[in-house]
């Protein structure tokens, strides 16, 4: 058989037949897979916006402005005031897709990373991106886009007009290099500079041109409206509920007109922050008013959902407080999570004005003082829409939200670093509340370097124990400051489950849920007990007053004391009687109660029954009916009366 073209390695393998000495070889990757990235590897339009926001964050921008002409979506602009790209970094970006200079030693030379720390931005932010594929997420939207960028102090801005190459055709190999590596052409860029005044301005704008019809339709919820049209046409009425809030609907006849005007939670006169607050408030109020509207997908069209998703995943401030900055005010109970498989969460008793951050020395979100990052979409400023105050009330026993807070640093000291993936450091909270609104906030979100790829994972990383109700009442976030990077898949929307850091997090989280569950049960039991006790004590007091009144009516001032004895204490009966007390043995005076569970409620009703036994004894005594009977008959009479009363009650 004729052998195929032989590589040196293949040749060497063949030669081992004679030499009997194994060949050593490194595993190498090929560019072809990365080349595919320019076709788009993301699932949703929001992913592309998320990636571009992350790029701006990594470039130390303090502001990102996204402008669309929703609901037409003919164009989308993403404009930041970050460091901008020098021609050198633009060259690197375009000629080495997937070979980001971020997190490499070359990064500092290209001024995209901090000197001496390739994991941080020049301004000191922990980098979100690492591969240099974020920009090409725009393939989700278009095959033609513009990058306009300027760095501070430069007297020009650079304009790159980029078209992405043919869809799904054989890649063209270009520029074979001396070392045998080849590169693959996946598109074309026309780049030039425009003169600019030498000023402090800086930033990068990505303008998406000629949006793909499919993406436009998706953003404009075309499918949803089409379904409603279809139902009206065929069934005479819409079976699908139109979204409560929407950006309006473009006319099918004239793409520059709306056939349905927008219905938004805000109006034009509101300021950027107010708009978002009104959005959040409306979502919460609607969920409270209408069960069907606890789901953000029922409340909002795709555009507004995209806003919501971005606000959850982007590296933003919380709309109110960071959960670590909540202070105790009786509305919230704090616990500290243990990092052990069998550990128990301990109550975290914070002093007035003290926060979990202060007590536990929590560092998330690791921003330097004064560092801000704001994102605006079409005039709405985004915030993390997760709130911890004014939680909705339900019938459940525990109505006080519980906040479980933990931090963990695992050095994997005893394991080889090649197997462990290095250090893992994170902080986290699990927030239990009777009702999580909207339902999209149920689950756990993993943030690496202040950003998340996907919103909440409702399976809690595959938590197997059947705790369905309780799991639906938990919102959790894990803030990873070191490690886990390697476990994030290319699209940043999923994890490599096999990675040790991921596995560690799974174990930690599941232990945390167990700790939450135990504490929650305990708090519930305690609360129920306390409530019953309060209720029971009140009833008994009423009974006492009633007896006192009746006895007084018979002209007796002192209500005789009646003591109920457990079987084990019966020996003390005669002694007590000698002291002038009336003694009743419980086993004789109280009706038998079989097979009852020792629940709080059962204990409570028993206590009340005992109170009644005493009351009956006191009344009979006041009428002088008790002393005519033997001790045992006294007890049987009281038992008989109680049984009749109970029968009555049932």
């Amino acid at each position: 058989m004729k052998s195929p073209a032989q590589s040196p390695l293949a040749q060497q393998i063949r030669e081992t037949k004679q030499t009997r000495v194994p060949v050593e070889a490194s595993l190498k990757t090929d560019d072809r897979i990365l080349a595919r990235i320019t076709d788009g590897i993301y699932r949703q339009p929001s992913s592309a916006l998320r990636e571009l926001i992350s790029n701006a964050y990594d470039a130390d921008a303090t502001e990102v402005v996204i402008l669309t002409d929703a609901p037409r979506f003919s164009t989308i602009t993403i404009r930041d005031n970050g460091l901008g790209l020098t021609p050198e970094s633009l060259e690197h970006l375009i000629e080495h897709i997937g070979g980001s200079a971020k997190r490499t030693l070359a990064g500092a030379d290209l001024e995209v990373t901090k000197r001496g720390d390739p994991t941080k931005s020049p301004g000191g932010r922990k980098l979100i991106g690492k591969l240099g594929i974020g920009l090409f997420s725009v393939a989700q939207f278009t095959r033609h886009f513009l990058v306009i960028t300027k760095t501070r102090g430069d007297r020009f801005r650079t304009v790159a007009d980029i078209t992405l190459g043919p869809v799904n055709q054989d890649e063209r190999l270009i520029d074979p290099k001396a070392n045998g590596e080849s590169q693959i052409e996946r598109g074309h860029a026309r780049i030039w500079t425009e003169p600019a005044p030498k000023d402090e301005s800086q930033g990068t704008e990505v303008k998406l041109l000629d949006l793909l019809p499919r993406t436009r339709d998706e953003l404009a919820s075309v499918d949803l409206w089409a379904r409603i049209d279809f139902e009206i046409e065929n069934e005479g009425r819409a079976l699908t509920r139109a979204p409560y809030f929407h950006i309006g609907r473009i006319s099918r006849k004239n793409p520059d007109e709306l056939e349905l005007p927008p219905r938004l939670p805000w109006n034009e006169t509101h300021e950027a922050r107010e708009k978002f607050e009104m959005f959040l408030q409306s979502v919460r109020v609607l969920a409270d008013e209408d069960k069907a509207l606890v789901d953000i997908e029922a409340v909002c069209d795709r555009y507004l959902q995209t806003l919501w998703t971005l606000s959850l995943t982007a590296p933003l401030d919380y709309v109110d407080n960071h959960p670590f900055d909540l202070s105790p005010d009786g509305e919230l109970l704090f616990f500290q999570l243990a990092n052990k498989t069998k550990g128990q969460a301990e109550p975290l008793r914070l002093k007035l004005g003290e926060t979990p951050r202060k007590r536990l020395n929590l560092k998330t979100p690791y921003l330097s003082k004064g560092d801000t990052f704001e994102v605006f979409i079409d005039g709405v400023q985004l915030f993390r829409p997760i709130v911890f105050r004014e939680q909705p009330k339900t019938q459940s026993a525990v109505s006080t939200p519980l906040a479980f807070i933990g931090r963990c640093r695992e050095e994997f000291e005893k394991k080889p670093v090649d197997l462990s993936g290095g250090k893992l450091d994170f902080e986290a909270y699990l927030f239990w509340t009777p009702k999580v609104i909207p339902t999209q906030h149920q689950g756990v979100m993993i943030r690496v370097g202040n950003a998340a790829g996907v919103p909440f994972d409702r399976t809690f990383m595959g938590y197997q124990v059947s705790e369905q109700t309780r799991l639906r009442q938990i919102t959790a976030e894990v803030f990873v400051s070191e490690g886990l990077d390697g476990a994030i898949n290319l699209d940043r929307e999923s994890f490599n489950y096999a990675h040790p850091h991921y596995q560690f997090l799974v174990k930690w989280l599941h232990s945390a849920i167990r700790q939450l569950t135990n504490r929650h049960k305990e708090v519930g039991k305690e609360l129920r007990g306390k409530r019953l006790l309060e209720k029971g004590a009140k009833a008994l007091r009423k009974l006492d007053l009633l007896v006192e009144q009746k006895v007084k009516a018979r002209g007796i001032e002192d209500v005789p004391e009646i003591v109920l004895l457990e079987r084990s204490d019966e020996k003390s009966a005669s002694g007590l009687r000698r002291e002038g007390k009336i003694v009743l043995r419980k086993r004789l005076a109280l009706p038998a109660r079989k097979g009852e569970k020792q629940t709080n409620a059962a204990l409570q009703s028993l206590a009340f029954l005992e109170g009644k036994a005493v009351a009956i004894g006191q009344i009979l005594h006041a009428w002088g009916l008790l002393e005519v009977l033997s001790f045992e008959d006294q007890e049987i009479l009281i038992q008989d009366i109680l049984e009749i009363l109970m029968a009555d009650a049932e």
Partner: protein, 419 residues
């Protein structure tokens, strides 16, 4: 073999045209690069905007950080306030800005002394792979990156005329960015009722006025630049436009008298009431057009509630061509709100509040006649004042250079034009 029936899904999935690269802008100089346009920018638009800001809007706009800080009760916020501007109180502008956003750059420069924070909405229809669009995008990027320009300012890929329909995307844009302090309609085609131009601007201006009068509460300016070609006049349209003017002619002897002093007797019929368009020469037609347009705007302001008093401010004209006669008119109008004070008719209050005098339509009309009579000829002004001319030339060169044009080539082009 029978061919399968074709599906109709494709159009919704695949575009028909491959994306086309755009190219850098070239130094192709245009009429609006001439010195006289710079005169309009500086001596009309920017000057009037500055005057309005100084006179009416100082407290409305964020003109000075110390100014508004004084309003804040808690002074401890001051440490957090970054230099410049954080409040959403910009000078809001609606513009038809052209590809280089020259007018906005110029306005920015001239309003610097007042620390105006500018937020603009432009309309320019080019889109996507359109060659011109890139130029707009680059210019827009540059202007929005200026420190005192709102970074969410934008140039919408729509025509201004589209705002006429409340369903249009353009109308939505207007509502999102308005209400405006300055509306500058530097029209590519003409407002002049002409046989050649199918202008839908009147509905759009009507819609704009409706929106502004409903939403704005402070004075605002409307600039209209339009080409006029009397030889192409559409008589029926022009007559319709003259209706409010004719009403004044009939009702107000003062008005009729003044108009008669400008127009030839043949243009006014026996009863002095009707303007006979065929009897007007080019100059007179421009005059009548200015009056008619002004009267139309006055009537819009007078019929809204609360009413708005409309005044023509310093306006200019310059020649495009002599034969046939084509002229450019650059008109400025100021809209002042007129609110009526509350009157206590019961006598419970001891306060004496006089009812406001209803604004007199005739007063406005007479003022308008005077203003139209004073429309300045830019060509004459520049010719008469060489210093002014060279100052404008320098300013124009600065402006174009800031927009990426070659200064030397520009000066050469400009010189050639004047020779």
């Amino acid at each position: 073999m029978m061919k399968d029936e074709e599906s109709d899904f494709v159009d919704e999935i695949v575009q028909s045209k491959l994306p086309q690269h755009t190219s850098p802008a070239r130094d192709d100089f245009q009429p609006w690069h001439k010195v006289r346009k710079q005169f309009i920018r500086e001596k009309q638009w920017n000057l009037l905007v500055s005057e309005m800001v100084r006179r009416y809007l100082k407290r409305q706009l964020q003109t000075d950080t110390t100014d508004w800080l004084a309003d804040e009760e808690e002074s401890d916020r001051s440490s957090e306030i970054p230099e410049g501007v954080i409040l959403d109180r910009p000078l809001r502008c609606l513009v038809i800005p052209g590809d280089d956003l020259l007018d906005l750059r110029s306005l920015y420069k001239d309003t610097r002394p007042f620390n105006c924070y500018i937020k603009y909405l432009g309309f320019n229809q080019g889109q996507g792979s359109d060659q011109k669009r890139t130029r707009v995008d680059v210019a827009n990027n540059e202007v929005t990156s200026l420190k005192e320009v709102a970074s969410n300012s934008t140039v919408a890929p729509d025509q201004f005329q589209s705002i006429a329909s409340t369903k249009s995307q353009a109308y939505r844009y207007m509502k999102d960015y308005g209400p405006f302090h300055v509306v500058n309609l530097d029209l590519c085609d003409s407002l002049f009722p002409s046989l050649t131009v199918d202008a839908k601007y009147y509905s759009a201006i009507h819609r704009l006025a409706e929106y502004q009068m409903k939403s704005q509460t402070v004075p605002w300016l409307l600039f209209i630049t339009t080409q006029i070609e009397p030889s192409q006049v559409s008589v029926p349209d022009f007559s319709k436009m003259c209706t409010p003017t004719q009403h004044n002619l009939r009702a107000h002897p003062d008005f009729a008298e003044r108009l008669a002093s400008v127009l030839p007797p043949e243009a006014l019929q026996d009863d002095g009431a009707i303007v006979v368009i065929s009897q007007l020469n080019d100059e007179q037609m421009i005059f009548v057009f200015g009056v008619a347009l002004g009267k139309w705007l006055i009537s819009l302001g007078a019929t809204s509630s609360p009413t708005w008093v409309v005044e023509m401010l310093r306006s200019y004209r310059y020649a495009i061509r002599r034969d046939p006669f084509v002229e450019m008119l650059s008109l400025a109008f100021q809209f002042l709100p007129k609110f009526s004070p509350p009157i206590d008719k019961t006598g419970l209050s001891k306060l004496f509040v006089s009812a406001s005098q209803p604004s007199s339509e005739l007063d406005s009309a007479l003022k308008l006649l005077t203003a139209v009579g004073k429309i300045g000829d830019v060509d004459l002004l520049l010719k008469a004042d060489p210093d002014l001319c060279s100052a404008m030339e320098k300013a124009s060169a600065d402006l174009l250079e800031s927009a990426g044009y070659d200064r030397e080539r520009y000066l050469e082009w400009q010189g050639r034009y004047y020779d």
